[in-house]
Amino acid sequence: MSAAEVWALAPYLALAGGIVLLLLAVAALRSHQVAFWGAIATLAIPLAFVPTALGGGTQIVDEVLEIDGYALFFFVLFSLAAITTAVLSAHYLGSRATHRQEFYLLLTTATLGAAVTAGASHFATFLMGLEVLSISLYAMIAYPEEGHPPLEAAAKYLVLSGAASSTMLFGMALIYAASNSLAFEAAGDIAAGEHNVLVLGQAMLLVGVFFKLSLVPFHMWTPDVYQGAPAPVTGFVATVSKGAVFAVLLRYAIDADLLASSAVGIVIAVIAVLSMVVGNILALLQTNLKRLLAYSSIAHLGYLMIALVVAGTAAGQALGVESGLFYVAGYFLMTLAAFGVITVLSNETEDADQISGYEGLLWRRPAIAAVLAAAALALAGIPLTVGFFAKFYLVAAGVGNAAWGLVWALIVGSAIGIYYYLRIVFAMTKRPDGDRTHEGRRVPWEGLLTIGILGLLVVALGLYPTPAIELIRGLAGP
């Protein structure tokens, strides 16, 4: 391993080293303060190594990790999302678990798994990263001691996710049988020929990936897990876990020339359209905010598939990747803001997940209501929020590469979506009428600060997205 490779690997090494230290610290000093600040440091310190790693250009470490702007973009994104989750969880878990220390440990391992997955250029790292992420998530979902829902959600996620992983593993084996290599690019070398074993393997791989991304028809687990999991963890599952799988899928699609087979392209397009339509229509029926956001995330991942389809074509690769990264970043911001609001409003035992509980929030807590309104409008894709430019980017990418059907589905899906996102806003604007949900309780200041920053970013990037676009353009190109 050369020095350049070590420098490229430095953020990952720092994160892994930090996790070991955190593990020792948690075991030795059963202190919440130490665990919390240790986790923040573990997640923040590796970020200091990112500029150096970026400066070294693309480094392929031992064939298994491809560390470039693309991988580091996701590294930073996941670390920031994990820090957000840690801050939001600190108060939330206070009443739900006697020992909160291990939660932070799980959060850091999940982040490491996600970061490795996003940097994978080889099936070994792909699978290892994904499993580290998933196994950490099972425990995080089931973390609260009281209550049946988290356990049910975790069990459901464990069984179904395990089944998806094994399907994926079988797919990898078939791809290996066809290409004689576990590297992504080896599959690309034989993609041009009609290779049945390869296509079958890729189909099985995609089933697993679509499950993790909760695309229709592999979405059944999503609403239950979203509802049952603790609110900050749901935010983490919705963003980091899906972001990591999307990152590796996009890289695989480009390296292995996934869309060389027109059948695969059609399947992805059909699944994208189904997700947009089904996700949005089922979201219309929800009265529980977490379930609503679950269905909305199904639709959003459907939109995101436009980036994949565009990036899979030779002409659209750069624009497709750019639009995908911008969309993921915007989706992280708005989803974390929405789940952040749910977290800070949740009381000692129950999550604030009934939409009816938000009635009149604008008059009782205007600042929190403003953040949720910004998040909801961003998810709906209304201008003034980052959600608009994220969708705009996808539509521009789709139109530029003549993916008209997908663009139309996005527009129809957005039109349906407006209705249920607006219902959230409408509920909050109801005049106060004696109902005093969420009132009088202390809202943690660090939670308020976090959602405040997220809300401001949602609006700021909706007003002037140019810096973010330029940054992503500089990093894009896996």
Binding site: L362, W363, P366, L377, I382, P383, L384, F388, F389, F392, V395, A396, V399, G400, V407, W408, I411, S414, A415, I418, Y419, L422, V425, F426, T429, R431, Y464, P465, T466, I469, E470, R473
Partner: protein, 486 residues
Amino acid sequence: MVLFVVILALLAAGVVAWASERLSKDAPRLVSILAFGAGLVWSAVLWLDGADAGGLYAAMDWPWITRFGIHLALEMDGLSLLMVALTMFLGIVAVVSSWDEIEVGQGFFQFNILWVMAGVVGVFTAMDLLLFFFFWEVMLIPMYLLIAIWGHEEKAYASMKFFLFTQISGLLMLFAILALVYVHHGATGEITFSYKALLDAEIEPRIAIWLMLGFFVAFATKLPSVPVHTWLPDAHTQAPTAGSVILAGILLKTGAYGIIRFAVPLFPEASADFALWAMLLGTVSILYGGAMAFSQSDFKRLVAYSSIAHMGFVLLGVYAFNELGMQGAIVTMVAHGFSTAALFMMAGAIQQRLHTREMAQMGGLWKHAPRMGTMTLFFVIASVGMPGLGNFVGEFLALLGAFQENWVMAVVATLGIVVAAVYGLYLMQRSFQGTPNPDVASMRDFGLREMSVMAAMMAGLVWVGVYPQHVLELSNATIQTLGILP
């Protein structure tokens, strides 16, 4: 530069108004009045200063999203100036008309009014298609909140319907904008959303007709024209008075403005092919709106339907494709802004006093409130199309223009003026004249505050009616530069 500052100032005034709620109950209203007053003075100064050689009163162009060639390009020519001045003026009217109506959240109410108007100023001055779309949406959410929070009984239904109609038609327009940019990119290799660059885009007629329809549907929904008008009666009726004033006075005009500025100039050939259909829609709107207005028992709903009829004249005039018709459409926009805003203000005032909008529960109100009666009579007469007042000039010119193009349509549309007289006088008779309703013991008449804005609107209508030259000069400058007339 100055245009951007004005928009930012309105947005900032909204925040200040919201924050000033803590100081006193009156502070938010005063902030709004001051902001709109300053805006009105600023427009007057621009007008008196005169345009530069290019016919512009103000212009700016900053890069915004360089990746897609999107610019923060704002320009103000004669038509924009006219519309912005009307916006500022009706902003004051809207604030005054809801002076006593709003009890909860006065600060947030003024915030929304100011933000709608900031979006509207942006719409009237944007010279970049994406920026235009951006402002088009900016005015939507505060308007939605105005109806959803401070509306009447059916506010949830009305506000949602308003939002869905506008947003979905807006998405069609966004798609058309992107497709237009894509076509232009294919021909020239340059990605730009600049209005002026896209004016020269060469588009195959087969595609142009669809793109034109994308724009047209969005603008026709806002205008509104039959058959996409159904949101309007609900939204206008359920909105608080200030909301109705803004909707009818200004937001409908953004639809008309969009047709004149974008739909027609960007796709001249497609629009010419479509002209007959658009004129037909205008004529149907005139007659349908009039007939529906006549059959209403709700004061506010009647005025709302009459708006559909009046906006039909705009459609008729624009698609006549001659100078007279276009001039008529623009004068109608201004005059309708005054007359309908006044009538909605009246409807709101009556509802506040009697707690009903049903005309069956009115009758003989003149006895209690002669000043309100006189004002209603004046604006009903104006709306009917009395010569000497603004509406007459606009509708007459629009019909004259339409007559040159298609005399059958013009003759049929003229019937609309007769229908207007019927429902207008019917409104007057049922509310203010006839046997006094014994249930109404007394009613507070208009005070100085209401009378002064009413007087200002009267003056506006007389000005446009007796000496339309000022408006015609401003609009003519734009019509010539748009280059849409054969």
